[in-house]
Symmetry: C4
Subunit: 318 residues, 4 copies
């Protein structure tokens, strides 16, 4: 079966992963309203395509906190990549390096930060930290990631409570026993309101990731693309704003950028790619998103990312 | 089958109750639009979660007309609990007492108020009264409930007409012959408009329950969560406002409190719990709602119920 | 099978009528959007029920152009009743007389006006006229109906073009050969805009029926309940306004009256009743609507039709 | 099977065409949201029918850039008609000539412009041009079409990128080897925004076709009927505005004209007609649209196309 779009990878993963793992990856909190709305919200946004332009050259590159990446799609922090492929986060790191984009490594990685760094020594990586009550433990993790060349620290703001994923409880989901969980521009992850965006900036962050953890934590919260405008309007270009959640096509990426995101990050689609063929599978996922994003730029008349602005979209009449 | 959420209890009850009883419990008036909208209306409300807060301590307690309960979910008045479990309302009273919350006993109980009081002598209970044309009968009921320690009287405002539940008519639903139907802060139940809220306050009530009787009376009326704002804005903190109808998760409870309810009451979910395992089943239902409500508070940044306000929610763009 | 609601009669008719006849009765123009929206539009209207009222006496009577009827539901003009029952319009006339309501007899009746009048000599009837190019023919019809005691003339405004009902074309629908088509306050039928309402009043009508012929003529026109407000606001009580299309429950009737209709008329439900048991079947249909309408009045706090006003309803948030 | 409406032709084509060809004709970009919304958007528009008018004569004729056609429906440029019938674009030209309407011939035709002209020497035709980088090639094509009697040139504004049609990629869709791709009032095709409409007028076009290529290029763009108002309001009668996309009934045509289109063009329905019976099949498709359009005019009170204005429609409450 040729892999044409991200849904093909999803179908593959659903078919080939153990049911318990699939449901762990796919699960959302409670009734999964927010998980599903993350995707549906993109359908309510319509492009206003411009056509009378020279589209002979299209440049998808962008710059994240000073570092250039090949296109504005990175890897969001998700845990336990060895559940998807045997090489786990090492494959993820290699794919992100090969595609020249940013990989946010989760605290809940099944490879150590040193292993990840060794696997892709030239990769652009940030480290995501859940702040433990044991501050010494957190500090140790941060130092190791910094030493391993991670260039940014992503602080997850909305924990330590875990959302209620019904399937995981039913499945009594637990990691296989051999898996263990293994630093620093500051980026805050999980902001969804202007009040918290203000507070985060007062704490000196350089960027904000608009995220609801794939709808896995609080059910009934807004789709991230719906929250994006409120955050973007609040920060007024003082810090960079990113988004994760619900990205499935290149035009979703373009919509997020039109509404003010500097870059988006993919979570579940990365896991589907790893499930399909490890590093190569994830590269395919990223390549498809790259090609679709570039085509969407072409078809809406954007030569480079600086030309993508809010007048490119409108909200659907329906 | 582990019971993870209230839907699991619903599925159990549907499978194990006689069809006629299930349909009596589940039925709504006419085409069941209002019954169904009671649930759907919660999906149109979105949280605005705050995340940058210390969530090490979360307090779910609240106070109803001067009496503290462990969390803002009580038992709404529904009739004929012996259709769900052999001990009937005695089980209901014990579960509510054990969970330290309020139980509104229906006029149409299959245990006497004295039996109910004896089963859970320390429980916090109100008595719901349909006002009979025979005023002496009503007065006698009220005196007995008062003597049995009931602390509040809930007056049902919108009767004596019974909604048209098609399944009950088809089933020729009647109570088994051995069942009989068996006091006093004033609370008015069934108010859905600002005009009636004003009138109720002029009659000196201390609280108002926004209710449409689970959509069993008038089809085409508003979902209770949609009516809540109008009532809350009208009473302006002069009396407490409660709500029943459509509560299925802890985040539904949080939404109702955010829109101004002091407490919510559950009807059908209590019957499902009783059907599952009598007192123990209902305690499980209440415990799940407690845990989900506490988690929703944590994930939206509310340390206690006084921090839950209207800025916590917005209406969905869809 | 007990007949509880109008849907039961619909199911019966669908099962027992020849497919061609069922499709002729059920069919709408083109894609049937307007036919279906006639019903769906009622779901977007919500009651604002008042409950703190004395409901010991409820009076459903109303007056149509000076004649009292038992409740505000009459029989809309539909053709070919012998397709539903052997006695055809004679049964219809008897049922309407028995229920003391108004029967608008169609030009396309399969009984003569004299036969209809003889069948129910005390009935309150109007005659609906399609204006033929042959004015003498029209005039003759009107004189006969007048002589037969018909008290009103309903002029159908929007013909002689016939809507495109796909099933009828596929079925090559034709009347059985033995059926023939057989008069005077002025009422104009088929008005949907304020411009036409103004024009009709300038022609001296006493009433206007807001109608789209059950969605059988123009597909893509508004639901009649959606058009009603525009017409009511235009005529400002100078003439009476009625409505047909989409009435399936007593609460639909109440919504139409709340939005300003003096009376509603039923089309397809009358045919279903005739199909079920002739005169008796149609009486059952009318009795169900009467009882449901009366219950809806009780549950919303209306003692008589003069208390039914626009503050009784609001449009749904969805 | 009698062919009653355009859906019947669609069903026939789906059943009889090779799957690969069917999917090539039917396919939309990515998730096909825009392709499907092209149709759905018409359902959100409601007529405001006028009925009190003399409808004895109805005139469907209109004039396109000075040339009269029998009704405002032409043939949109689509490629590869030999995939639908052996005579390819020669059949298309004959059907358009017979129905006296405009046929926009695609650059990707499988007959030469000379063959097309010879097949229907009196037909009214425009030639659609994708502008090649090889300007000499384009110029040559234009000169040949002009010599063959084509009266207009349609410039396609939004290429040379091809939308991502998943089924075509899966099918590895390619033209059979024997097929080859074979000029001049100026019309710009593919405009969807007021900015581009302004720009096009500054370039001196005489008309604008509001088009999204049947949703085959950019997914997530607006339905053409939704874009129409923006364009019409911008051009203010300085140039003619046309539309393609989603036309399936005569009332769709009427809605487009009410919102300001001078004429609409059909794409896929023309291919279905050709598939059914070549020239004759396409004539049937056009005849059905003509008859439905005329009936819609009659039922809304429009005697001729000059009476069709924006007050004929409103947007649905839903």
């Amino acid at each position: 079966m040729p892999m044409i779009c991200l849904s093909d990878f999803e179908a593959y993963a659903k078919k080939h992963l153990p049911k318990t793992t699939w449901e762990f990856f796919a699960g959302g909190a409670d009734e999964c309203c927010t998980r599903d709305d993350n995707l549906l919200a993109y359908k309510r946004i319509r492009f206003r395509p411009r056509v009378l332009r020279d589209m002979s050259v299209i440049d998808t590159r962008t710059i994240l906190l000073g570092t250039e990446i090949s296109f504005p799609v990175g890897i969001a922090p998700t845990g336990f990549h060895q559940l998807a492929c045997s090489d786990g986060e090492k494959s993820t790191a290699r794919a992100a390096e090969a595609m020249n984009t940013c990989y946010i490594t989760s605290t809940y990685s099944t490879c150590t930060v040193e292993e990840i760094a060794a696997a892709a020594p030239n990769g652009f990586r940030w480290f995501q930290l859940y702040i433990h009550r044991n501050r010494a433990l957190s500090e140790g993790l941060v130092r190791r990631a910094e030493a391993a060349g991670f260039q940014g620290l992503v602080l997850t703001a909305d924990l330590p409570y875990v959302g209620k994923r019904r399937d995981d409880i039913r499945n009594n989901f637990q990691l296989p026993p051999h898996m263990t969980v293994k630093n620093f521009e500051g980026v805050f992850e999980g902001i969804l309101t202007k009040e918290d965006a203000d507070l985060a900036m007062r704490h000196g962050v350089q960027g904000i990731i608009v995220s609801n953890h794939g709808g896995r934590q609080l059910d009934g919260g807004p789709a991230t693309i719906d929250s994006l405008i409120e955050i973007v309007d609040t920060v007024q270009d003082r810090v960079e704003v990113y988004l994760d959640g619900g990205i499935r096509t290149g035009s979703d990426v373009l919509k997020a950028l039109a509404l003010g995101a500097k870059c988006v990050f993919i979570g579940r689609p990365a896991l589907w790619g790893l499930t399909y063929k490890g590093e190569e599978g994830l590269r395919e996922v990223l390549q498809i998103l790259h090609d679709e994003f570039r085509l969407s730029m072409a078809l809406t008349g954007c030569q480079n990312v600086s030309e993508i602005g809010r007048n490119l979209v409108q909200f659907s009449k329906l």
